[in-house]
Symmetry: C3
Subunit: 209 residues, 3 copies
């Protein structure tokens, strides 16, 4: 399980970097950088814990993560260029983190006896909604709701692989590897070949398709 802790650590770092760059695009100060980074890194898990009534929250129990995000935000405030160079190398940790958080969230929801479709949604929420909260705070329409390389969809696919494995009684580590692999493969493939869902035009919009 030491491997899972490495993935979790990488995911927090990747999320925080995304948040710090987003906040600096809005010319926030250090407070903004730190809070937006926390929103990306801990927002999805917090929503999940509130929805499933799990206490204490993820980031309260793992008190080291807010400290790490604080340190990253400090680096982002002093040397913004570092953050950018760091983020460029974070596509793989980010995809791994999306996969891990999806699976953990789905697993908790299945444990809490949520209906399967709802469990998959809670997996996606855990993996992908930190970024949604951060985008909303920064006054942006959430990136993952707009046509862009697939993100939530990869998480959704992986959640169903996990649920399938659990229902069919596969060995736990196999289910874990297959569902994590599904998310990572689809995410990296979407980035590489620019897979995206089409945008929907409002039916009354004259410029729409």
């Amino acid at each position: 399980m030491i491997a899972l802790q490495f993935i979790e650590f990488g995911a927090v770092v990747a999320s925080a970097c995304y948040g710090i760059l987003l906040a600096s695009r809005k010319r926030m100060d250090f407070v903004g950088l730190f809070c937006v980074a926390c929103a990306v890194a801990f927002g999805g898990g917090t929503l999940r814990d509130l929805c499933l009534d799990r206490q204490p929250l993820f980031w309260i129990q793992n008190g080291q993560y807010p400290v790490i995000v604080f340190g990253l935000a400090a680096v982002g405030a002093i040397a913004p260029g570092t953050m950018l160079r760091l983020e460029r190398r974070l596509a793989i940790p980010d995809a791994l983190g999306l996969g891990l958080f999806t699976i953990v969230g789905t697993g908790y929801a299945v444990e809490a006896e949520a209906p399967l479709f709802v469990a998959a949604l809670i997996g996606v929420m855990t993996g992908a909604f930190g970024g949604v909260i951060a985008d909303v705070i920064c006054n942006e329409v959430p990136t993952i709701f707009r046509p862009a390389p697939l993100y939530a969809s990869c998480s959704f696919a992986g959640a169903w692989v996990y649920i399938g494995g659990e229902c069919l009684g596969w060995e736990h580590s196999l289910t874990l590897a297959l569902s994590l692999g599904t998310v990572v493969f689809f995410r990296l493939a979407s980035l590489k070949w620019d897979w995206r869902l089409p945008s929907v035009s409002h039916p009354e919009d004259p410029s729409g398709g």
Copy 2:
């Protein structure tokens, strides 16, 4: 109580349609349509359940509703025009849903021994705040906070009728009918005769009234 289930179903459909049209106005993709529709349909009830510490949440317990919203979002993505035609017929289901959710929310809050004024607020939150959350996600100032045909006010009036009936010991089905009728009547009348509250100008705004 089968009638109440029909009203609930209609309210979820009406809420989802509002969300899908809102999201398509922002040119989101299917993920955005589905998530915004869920925010409208389940946001108010989720806020209520979190504030009153009720578990499991409304949409986790009624796992069929997220599936219905998923289907509607798919229709909205493939044939946006259908959604528009559907929404035009949804003023009555929407008003009924506003009424039902207001009453249910107020009732839960009274049960939890909240002060009466707070119970009315929680009723309004249940009925009307899904739309607020969706508007905020879509980067819009919430519609129900701006001058427009009365919405939250109708819900607030109905909540007080319900509370009055409970305090005066009316028969439960009479209280239910009267408070539901109050919300629906005020909402439809506001739409028909364009009743609205005036906007407030900032005192330092030179163009203000």
Copy 3:
């Protein structure tokens, strides 16, 4: 403890005034004024209570506060100028309230055995995040995340003074006075001498520093 209740009352009034003026800048109606004022006044405490699983929520238990905010919003809708004159005298109550809510939040988190750094963050959330929620609802990038006289930082400093006092076993009333004094002093000094954190430019922004 009667003094603390006066401070709490003053803080709710100051928060509500901020919210009412913010909402009127967006030309909302009475519903918007009231809801945004509630978001400022109760948002931070609600987040804290949800994160620490405390029930009933602050504003449900103290049912008089929503009524007071309702009254203030009515005054704000009828005589907006009053609100502005009121707010100009509210810098001190607001700073006292920031201090009080920070300390209460930090104290609850320490009680719940949160790690100390997390406890300080929850103190800041309690004191300062109502305004963040209101800004997000009003479609503004949160004020306290942008370069402006220090606000969250004053709260953070006071939280650490409180934690320090508790860890070193100071007498409770001394710890209280010192940490409250720290927040108020830093906040009023920041306002007077315009202390602020620098904004961070995005590394790829050509107009950035």
